[in-house]
Symmetry: C2
Subunit: 222 residues, 2 copies
């Protein structure tokens, strides 16, 4: 099971077909859909079960759906050991925005049902298929081209992206691991601009934003 | 005065010429530069003065430098009421990466010397000129073209960007305010991809990443 908080996030999960197990609210008339019929609780009680510093006015418990199988097609983002829940949440929101249907997470990547991830995706997680598994094994058997982001490789602006493919983003501190790096066929880099050029790296979520924008711009011919 | 924590962040501020007022460390031999001579304190004492949940091993107090004047030239990012310290920190890091020399913040934007901003910039704040002021007034007098990000306007991929200009990013919840919106000459949008298209918006820091990448790609002719 996992929890989601706030009318907006909860409504998006219900709409996406997730199985609602329990719904708690501090106000009986919070939801337009009268069939929802939340269990009334006090603000004090909500505070006890909420994962938020400033609790909302409702909390839902959903059933974690059956794990979907990875489909070896389309555009895929693969994460090699992303640890920060906020980064995973932002990346899921980006996948949703840029029409990426599958997100493959290494087994060491933070859990997508972590309350902080669920809240920061703003409901996007209900529209992106997230699969956890052995990343090296998947990369060894895929028929898709494999892209990965590194420092000082080919500029993403001159790279040709194919219509289907896997793009790997690495760990916050260490980037893509050596084992996974060996399996990357197209090593790409976001170029730095300006004269000083001392910034050590970009945050992984902002780097994902730039790569997905550039990939989709090229693929769509815009 | 403002505080900075950790060897890396402190060293970048020293190197950038900021005036160091006090330096505290839990280990006398932490810094290679022996002239620094930190004041030895216990981990308990550091915990009391640190702004971090998990304190580092050193903390410095720097003097806030004199406010620089805004120069009406080059590429400028302007922020209309950004409230989250993490977002401001990430945007400063992006400005540094993409060679944006000036960041103009509306007076309601979070303080750049907020400890959370300083830590999340990873030292980039020492290389980007950050100016606070009346955003509407500046926009009314500038000779630079004014770009602003909105929903459902011209795609950034088909927009021509000039070599100098101001790009405005709006508040986390409300976007660019009406008053500022009236002053924007080029309204631009990051297009959505995919078939579902339900994502309501992108986080302001990831949107800034995409816009700066696309601006610099076009301007540099890459």
């Amino acid at each position: 099971m996992f929890i989601a908080e706030g009318i907006k996030v909860i409504s998006e999960f219900i709409e996406a077909g997730f199985e609602l197990l329990y719904l708690y609210a501090t106000d009986a008339n919070l939801f337009d859909n009268k069939e929802l019929n939340p269990i009334l609780i006090s603000e004090q009680e909500l505070k006890k079960i909420s994962a938020l510093v400033t609790p909302n006015n409702c909390l839902a418990v959903f059933k974690i759906p059956k794990t979907k199988l990875f489909s070896d097609s389309g555009l895929v983002v693969a994460l090699d050991d992303i640890r920060d829940p906020g980064n995973l949440g932002t990346i899921i929101r980006l996948c949703d925005w840029f029409g990426i249907e599958q997100l493959f997470c290494s087994e060491t990547t933070v859990d997508v049902y972590n309350p902080k991830v669920i809240q920061s995706t703003m409901g996007s997680v209900s529209r992106v298929t997230v699969v956890y598994g052995d990343l090296a094994k998947m990369l060894k058997t895929t028929s898709l081209p494999i892209y990965g982001t590194f420092m000082d490789e080919n500029s993403i602006y001159s790279e040709d992206f194919s219509k289907e493919g896997i793009v790997i983003m690495g760990n916050e501190a260490n980037g893509i691991s050596e084992e996974i790096g060996f399996l990357v066929q197209h090593k790409i880099t976001i170029p730095r601009f300006g004269t000083i050029q001392k910034t050590e790296s970009l945050n992984v979520a902002t780097a994902t934003a730039i790569v997905l924008s550039e990939m989709q711009r090229k693929i769509s011919g815009k």
